[in-house]
């Protein structure tokens, strides 16, 4: 099965000023053959919506490690869907302050239109998801 490289937009959540997680994710995604635009940390919702409209990425990856990820992520996904963006959106990292995944918060994110919620450090699952998405894209393009 041939896999196509995806245009991916990567962003930190609105209140999260951490950088190194985004640098790591960019390298991780590029190593899998994808093209990455990295918006950096502290991306407010309006900027995220604007950038999605301008760049037309095939996937948006939101990353958060400051404990406000569930809250900030929910705002971001709702803003994107409200603006009519239908692209796949995934989020991952340390999303809550409790240090472990919260199923209720996760359900809220999925309900709001987030395609996947990845646990902290689960790059394996992210990699598998990318493979599926790239394969689907190939078929769709054929």
């Amino acid at each position: 099965m041939r896999r196509r490289s995806l245009d991916i937009l990567l962003a930190g959540t609105a209140s999260d000023s951490h950088t190194w997680n985004l640098v790591y994710l960019q390298l991780f995604l590029e190593e899998r053959g994808h093209r990455v635009g990295n918006l950096g940390p502290c991306v407010p919702d309006p900027l995220l919506v604007r950038e999605c409209a301008a760049r037309r990425p095939q996937l948006l990856v939101l990353a958060s490690v400051n404990g406000h990820g569930y809250r900030d992520g929910l705002g971001a996904v709702r803003a994107l869907r409200r603006a009519g963006h239908t692209l796949p959106v995934v989020i991952g990292g340390k999303l809550g302050t409790a240090g472990e995944a919260d199923p209720a918060q996760r359900a809220l994110l999925l309900e709001a239109g987030c395609d996947r919620v990845f646990d902290d450090g689960d790059t394996h699952a992210l990699g598998a998801y990318l493979d599926t998405l790239a394969a689907v894209e190939t078929r769709a393009a054929a």
């Binding site: 000023s17 950088t19 190194w20 985004l22 790591y24 390298l27 991780f28 918006l39 502290c42 790059t123």
Partner: protein
């Protein structure tokens, strides 16, 4: 008087106490002149009472400290409404909201705490610092930190142009609102940037340029920062380069000093790793001449540290600094200096308006912070850790420096590679010290105060006291005389197994602390044919022996020597002595021993009478091979092997005939079997290992000189001893029994430190 006031240099005598909150730069200069590193926490609490308490306890720390008010994130990003709302709700803030509190409240917080001997600095992180500067000057403060680049690029989406404009106004505000005789002080944050993976040349240049920016905007007292990176040599080069560039580029009349930040990247997660990294940063600061250090705490990797943790970090850093001497170095044309200078010159070439020059430099990629994602950063530079641990460039984009010659540009950094580089320092410090050999001691001593108060130590000391009583009773009964040993001498026992002697300066002569008094024992035979010492010894053992449970740097030996005796005579005394001590402690303090978990049955075989068994070194090696343990036939039995033999026995036994080369020159070589020594070790049963070492002694002048040469010793150093030998030293045999090892064997405790009131483990800095 507080500890800090006692330790800090007195303010200059200007006739009466100085009523102003002391000038920050002048305080640091006075401390530097007195040879004291100023240490400072990052500490901030929303509640004024808690903040005041934190400052008071910082001031009272056993350190030369400056105080810190760290500002909360809402105030940092200019959201004063959110800061006020959080205060009103009682919601936790991660710092002191200086702009949300009225100035009078902050003044009250500082009253009686901040003074000339304890200046307080405001630390924040804002790209728009004006409100914070107004608030701090209104509260009577005049020192803060930041910078147009360093408080913008790493944390914020504020355009660099805006940050430059805000910081220009901020500098002018600070200079205006803290007029003479107050002295506004600003510290650059440019020596930190993303905390890690920025090669030092760039950090030094940014720090210098921000300092110059402050000066151009009216600030007359600055400190230039640098954050500890990955390599102590490269870090020292960086601090020296920063000092030299400051001399070259800052106007002469500007007060300045260097401030080092303890590592700002991923911090070690273990307490020992965190402490050692902090201590290394304090040593770096002193060695390379930084005047101030911003510390990190052991709690750093997990959460916001408490006041107590901050104070402990300050005291740990201050203690490490006090044990370090500055290194004289010219700061020459190091690689860091040359690189930093190229950056500085490239920016200054862009015109006289430094703010504009900085913006242009970033826009053109002349300055390009690796891995920084800010939209105004070019993002074309990349760095890597070279195999020696230095940070270097792999890609330099448009910067005026070259990539490192051997950088692996063909193998781009991978995600895993980045993770590895980010975690290098924390992994290194968390894994050191290396897992101890034969680790039967999983824990190390608690702080000395706790250790001295422990019931276990009390029990062990009761047993030790009875053991010493029994030693003296037995030896005196056998006709021995107790002498008090010397502590220092021109030479000492050259010893073995990697232990070294401590050097002391004796009226300008290089003397040694006694590793053992063996040479003096032999000399003393002239007047005392049967003698003993309870001798204190200091041996700087290799750090890897810290975990054996059987090594202390400071310990005592029951040191016995008898003239005209054979090895067997000495062994009989050693066996008799051990037996008597065991009998005595079980009659004197049986309940103490039982409380410690010992049973009389443990010593039944020992007390059953009869000679202790002996085997030769060669037999011991063969026995170990039978246990599957490889042991060199030409060397000391290693610690693990000794333990195997000790565990396999049910009563103490001797190992005889160690090979020449494994022991000192004073152990007599067997005349019938060259290469074999007439010596022995006494090994305890039950896993406690070696208790005593002894031998027939070499006393013949020519043989001693030959043996010294064979073991690489310079006979000239042993002049006094050889002179006595030439006149004639009596033949003798003797042994040294480790007192702490004996008490550990009697008490059954796990580690030697548990039977020493003031334990010093190899490689561990302890009081």
């Amino acid at each position: 008087m507080t500890a800090a006031a006692a330790l800090a240099p007195s303010p200059p005598a200007t006739g009466g106490p100085d009523p102003r909150p002391g000038s920050f730069g002048a305080f640091v200069a006075r401390c530097a002149a007195a040879g004291q590193l100023v240490v400072q926490p990052r500490m901030g609490f929303a509640d004024p009472e808690r903040m005041r308490d934190g400052l008071r306890r910082t001031k009272a720390a056993a350190a030369t400290a400056a105080g810190t008010l760290t500002i909360d994130s809402y105030t940092r990003v200019g959201d004063r409404a959110a800061a006020r709302a959080a205060l009103a709700e009682g919601a936790p803030l991660n710092g002191y909201p200086i702009a949300a509190h009225p100035a009078a409240r902050t003044r009250a917080l500082l009253a009686g705490v901040a003074d000339a001997g304890f200046p307080v600095q405001v630390r924040h992180g804002s790209a728009r610092p004006e409100a914070i500067i107004r608030a701090l000057t209104a509260a009577g403060l005049d020192a803060t930190e930041g910078g147009p680049v360093s408080y913008c690029l790493p944390y914020d989406r504020t355009p660099l142009a805006e940050s430059v404009a805000h910081w220009a106004r901020g500098c002018e505000l600070l200079a205006t609102l803290a007029p003479a005789p107050r002295t506004a002080h600003l510290e650059t944050f440019g020596g930190c940037m993303l905390g890690q993976l920025a090669p030092p040349g760039l950090l030094v240049a940014l720090s210098l340029l921000e300092g110059l920016f402050f000066v151009r905007h009216g600030i007359r007292s600055v400190s230039l920062s640098y954050a500890q990176q990955t390599h102590p040599g490269q870090d020292a080069e960086a601090l020296r380069a920063l000092r030299r560039l400051a001399e070259e580029f800052l106007p002469a009349g500007v007060d300045r000093h260097l401030v080092l930040y303890t590592y700002m990247g991923v911090y070690p997660r273990t307490a020992h790793g965190a402490t050692r990294l902090l201590e290394d940063s304090a040593r770096l600061a002193v060695r390379a001449g930084a005047e101030r250090l911003i510390v990190k705490t052991a709690a750093e990797a997990h959460r916001i540290p408490t006041v107590q943790e901050n104070v402990r970090a300050l005291e740990t850093a201050a203690a490490a600094a006090a044990r370090t001497t500055p290194e004289q170095a010219d700061g020459g044309d190091s690689e860091v200096y040359q690189e930093a200078r190229r950056f500085v010159e490239a920016v200054l070439d862009l015109g006289d308006d430094l703010g504009r020059a900085l913006r242009t430099a970033f826009a053109r990629g002349l300055l390009d912070v690796p891995y920084c994602l800010h939209p105004d950063n070019a993002g074309r530079s990349r760095s890597f850790l070279d195999p020696g641990g230095r940070l270097r460039w792999s890609d330099t984009g448009a910067m005026p420096v070259a990539p490192y010659a051997t950088s692996s540009r063909r193998t781009p950094l991978t995600a895993d590679g980045l993770l590895g580089a980010l975690l290098t320092t924390s992994s290194r410090y968390d894994s050191d010290p290396p897992a101890p050999e034969g680790a039967d001691m999983e824990h190390t001593p608690p702080p000395l105060g706790t250790h001295l108060a422990s019931p276990t130590l009390r029990s062990a000391m009761l047993v030790q006291q009875e053991a010493l009583y029994a030693v003296r009773e037995f030896l005196r009964g056998q006709g021995f005389t107790e002498l008090l040993p010397p502590l220092v001498g021109p030479v000492t026992d050259p010893g073995g197994r990697g232990a070294k002697a401590l050097d002391v300066d004796y009226y300008g002569q290089p003397y040694k602390l006694m590793t053992s008094a063996i040479l003096y024992k032999q000399a003393s035979l002239r007047g005392f044919p049967k003698l003993f010492y309870i001798a204190p010894n200091v041996r700087v053992e290799p750090p890897e022996t810290a975990g054996t449970g059987r090594h202390l740097v400071e310990f005592h030996q029951i040191d016995v020597e008898l003239a005209g005796a054979s090895r067997e005579d000495a062994q009989a005394v050693a066996a008799g002595l051990l037996t008597h001590v065991v009998e005595h402690v079980w009659s004197a303090v049986p309940e103490v021993l039982r409380e410690l978990g010992r049973e009389e049955m443990d010593f039944a075989e020992l007390l059953s009478g009869g000679k202790f068994d002996s085997c030769t070194h060669a037999e011991a090696v063969a026995r170990l091979a039978g246990h599957g343990h490889t042991q060199s036939p030409d060397a000391e039995i290693d610690w693990a092997g000794e333990k195997v033999l000790s565990l396999a026995a049910d009563r103490p036994f001797f190992i005889d005939d160690y090979p020449k080369g494994s022991r000192g020159f004073y152990d007599r070589e067997d005349p019938e079997r060259p290469g074999v020594l007439r010596n022995f070790d006494l090994i305890a049963h039950g896993g406690y290992g070696e208790l005593a070492s002894g031998s027939e002694r070499e006393a013949d002048y020519a043989a001693l000189v030959t043996r010294m040469r064979e073991s690489g010793e310079n006979p000239a150093k042993y002049a006094w001893y050889l002179e006595l030998a030439r006149e004639g030293i009596a033949s003798s045999a003797g042994f040294g029994m480790g007192l702490q090892r004996l008490v550990r064997f009697l008490t059954g405790l796990d580690a030697l430190w548990q039977v020493s009131a003031y334990p010093k483990l190899p490689g561990v800095i302890a009081p």
